[in-house]
Symmetry: C2
Subunit: 196 residues, 2 copies
């Protein structure tokens, strides 16, 4: 393969995955290959050159959005505030995301819930993403010196996903409840701001 | 309509809604009218005599399972334990539900997440069900005399839905984390067992 055709293929892949991530998120996993290729401006032939199946496209589209999604939630590496503030930053950003009229919940949880197949490649991608979120919480909990960082990290992930679900079910912004609930869990674990 | 034909129609309706609740839960909202009627052993003609659309069937199937689902979670009316124990009962029952291999999350949240249409009749049914769960928590929080029963009730609902999501994403039982997290929220609100 020439350099230019491999560059073209990479661009096609990106366009396909961006369209897939957007369509599956807004319309659900029922979106067909036809509609997907049309939205992406990609031929079915190209899609099947790149991926074996729609299932693989779904998984790859989640993998593709994961870094951007996390960047929209995470504190920056230069943010040297204490663990509590860095953890609450994630919940404050979640609150902001839920104010968007197009918010349809955490895309990773949504994929797992819709697929109902724990061994689907996209369900595995969703699990990896959620594990990475939990790992961030656990790392901060360790820095804070709590007794059971793994437990606290799981509890914070539960609050994150429950708050996301609430925004979907209630079809509205969270009005601070995500951060308040995470704050209660942090208080309970003794994670208070050293600066505060 | 004669009595016997109205009885037959009611039986058809129940059979259709039971099959719908089961199929939508296990396979998702993409299940078609054809497959649904086949599973229920009901003709499409009968379905459309009873309901205007598949959307209406979905909503009615959620309404139909709501009392049974709640009965599987709720403490009995005769359970005269203090509020904390009655609240934790719900989370302990949730833990048990998630050990079933067919567990696919809270059916009401799943419907709302899958539909992605806040004004869909089934999304409205899901919201009503979740509001009833929150109302139960709030009533118990009031009995416990907490400062902000509405806030505590919303936080407990978030933990409930986040734990349900965790069971789906991790494809496994919760191993006590739902009750532990609810317990942390109750501790934080000062809801301790008067008997404990």
């Amino acid at each position: 393969m020439t350099d230019s055709s491999s560059t073209a293929l990479a661009a096609t892949r990106d366009r396909l995955l961006d369209a897939a991530a957007q369509l599956f998120y807004s319309d659900g996993i029922g979106v067909g290959v036809e509609a997907l290729c049309r939205a992406a401006g990609v031929s079915k032939r190209s899609m099947y050159q790149l991926f074996d199946s729609k299932d693989e496209v779904m998984a790859a589209s989640l993998e593709r959005i994961a870094p951007t999604y996390w960047a929209s939630l995470a504190p920056s590496d230069e943010d040297d505030r204490p663990p509590r503030a860095r953890i609450l930053h994630v919940f404050e950003r979640l609150e902001e995301l839920t104010t968007s009229p197009g918010y349809r919940g955490c895309p990773f949880v949504a994929a797992a819930v819709e697929l109902k197949r724990p061994d689907h490649p996209a369900s595995l991608a969703a699990r990896r993403y959620k594990d990475a979120l939990t790992a961030f919480f656990q790392q901060e909990a360790q820095r804070a010196g709590v007794r059971d960082p793994a437990l606290l990290a799981q509890q914070l992930t539960i609050v994150f996903d429950g708050a996301s679900a609430r925004a979907v079910v209630q079809a509205g912004a969270l009005r601070g409840i995500a951060a308040t609930t995470a704050g209660a869990i942090l208080d309970h674990a003794g994670v208070v701001d050293q600066d505060g």
